[in-house]
Amino acid sequence: MKILVPCKRVPNPEQKLKFAGESLDLANPGWQVNPFDEYAVEAALRLTEKGKGGERAGEVVLVTIAPKDAGQQVRGLLAMGADRALLIDGKDEELDSNAVAQILKGVVEAEKPDLVVMGKQTVDGDDNQVGQLLAGYLGWPQATFLASLSLAADGKSVLTTREVDAGVEEKRVPVPAVLTVDLRIISKKAVHNEALVGPDAEWDEGPRYASLKGIMAAKKKEIKEVTVASFSVSPEVLVKTVSHVAPPARRAGVKVSSVEELVQKLHNEAKVL
């Protein structure tokens, strides 16, 4: 089983966004890995493991499209246990979801993975498109927003659960496929490779931390720097960013001192009760 995990760095979401005119001021972004991508790496690792901390069977290949200094965030994912990485030279400002998906199509054709496992969205652009676009360009089936996934023992299909507006949907897709993961994929029993573990196998909640051994091992793992030109694709940007502004601030609120006062204000002032 070879799994490709596209990933991306994002400005620290806990940090207050700064604006410079009608653009973002990303002088001190505090780069970190997009959380959903970290969950995708965790899911991919579980698919290649004989249980928690067990022997590995399969390969997890990372790919990121970013400037060279993003190697630092990629190294962190290698320390979690991913096997190697491709770093494709590119800048967020010069890409959109479509261009990213077209480049990833080239990577998939060169690497020939069995599965692409990726985050459902980045928490900066909040676009929620790349996985679906990539599946469309490849003509592969897709299963998005996964809360759980189980790879059949014959390795030929994946049974997934997805959180949809109406509840929880179960969908089966054949391999190869593009899978995008949501928050719940990191719960203890969310991911199984039936060829390696039984249904009761469980992992620790959350994406794993890099161990000291993992960090040492990651130093020797390959981060191959490549250019877009080395793939036979011509990415097109179809959505141009015109401006970023801060959302209108909410009017400052008040603290009330009692439940009576709260209910009265909701009734008489806000007129919502």
């Binding site: 979401p13 806990e14 207050k16 966004l17 959109d96 479509n98 998906a101 969205q121 928490v123 900066d124 909040d126 676009d127 929620n128 498109q129 790349v130 679906q132 676009l133 599946a135 469309g136 592969w140 089936p141 897709q142 299963a143 998005t144 927003f145 809360a147 049974l159 959180e163 949809v164 509840g167 929880v168 949907e169 179960e170 969908k171 089966r172 897709v173 928050l183 719960s187 179809l238 959505v239 141009k240 015109v242 970023h244 502004v245 801060a246 959302p247 909410r250 609120g253 008040v254 603290k255 009330v256 001192s257 439940v259 709260l262 209910v263 204000k265 909701l266 806000a270 919502v272 009760l273």
Partner: protein, 319 residues
Amino acid sequence: MSIVVYLETSDVAVRSASLPALTAARALAQHRGGPIVGVVIGSGLDAAAKDAARYVDKVLAYDAPELRAPLAETYAPVLVAALKAAGADALVASATSTGKDVLPRTAALLGAGMASDISSVEGAAKFKRPTYAGNAVTTVEVTSPTVIVSARQTAFEAAAPLATVGGVELQPAGTVDARGAAFVALHASKSERPDLTEASIVVSGGRGMKSGENFKVLEELTDLLGGALGASRAAADAGMVPNDLQVGQTGKVVAPKLYIAVAISGAIQHLAGMKGSKTIVAINKDAEAPIFQVADYGLVGDWEKVVPAMIEEVKKLKA
């Protein structure tokens, strides 16, 4: 050229979740011109297609047993065919879980640019959309000849029917190829309460509720107010409530006239899903909790005392 709106349907009608997309399409028609063509996809669509025709000049219905479940693999090619049949160069749908799944795949098949989760239409191909968990408003311009947008449900009013009813054209579904994907089951969540994304009052509980059992008192308040129940991720993750009650960046986006956050700290990912509410109330025992920064009315206190007292006060008000 015309504008296609993809309308999700129940067995008998257009889903209310799709009505904001119609409003977005009407706003887009102000800039692009052209009639608005509704597209319905599924199996046994007679009643739903008729209902759709109340909102648009024309409905194209793709009705086939293989199209019963909304699979992106089968719906995206149908939408491509619908744009062709309608002579359309724009596609609009609501940013529901189906819209988010199907629209980008359609964009790839068309080689068209897509603006996700738009909050307003600014021009023929220009849109505003929230980014960075709602901490920025980004204006984007789609540069491809065909324009695709998903509309944030809470940012557009539900469209009203037109004065005249449009016609329904049954379209051939063509060969339906799911690429091996199969819908297995839907475990639908049943609730007597109004839909979270459409309720005018939402009461949400967070980790500080401590257990699912404790949510009963929130449910009592919710039902007294005729609202919907919501939750933070922490409460959903801890199994206190079903996951589909989660409000936030990765849960549901809500914008009721009254949002009551109980024992929720106010992480940016939660705020992303409820900041658009008209009036926000925060009840939290920690006076420093970030939720108070967006609350119109904040009450520092323990929910165990505050919520039962609130139930009594609201009862008095209603009496």
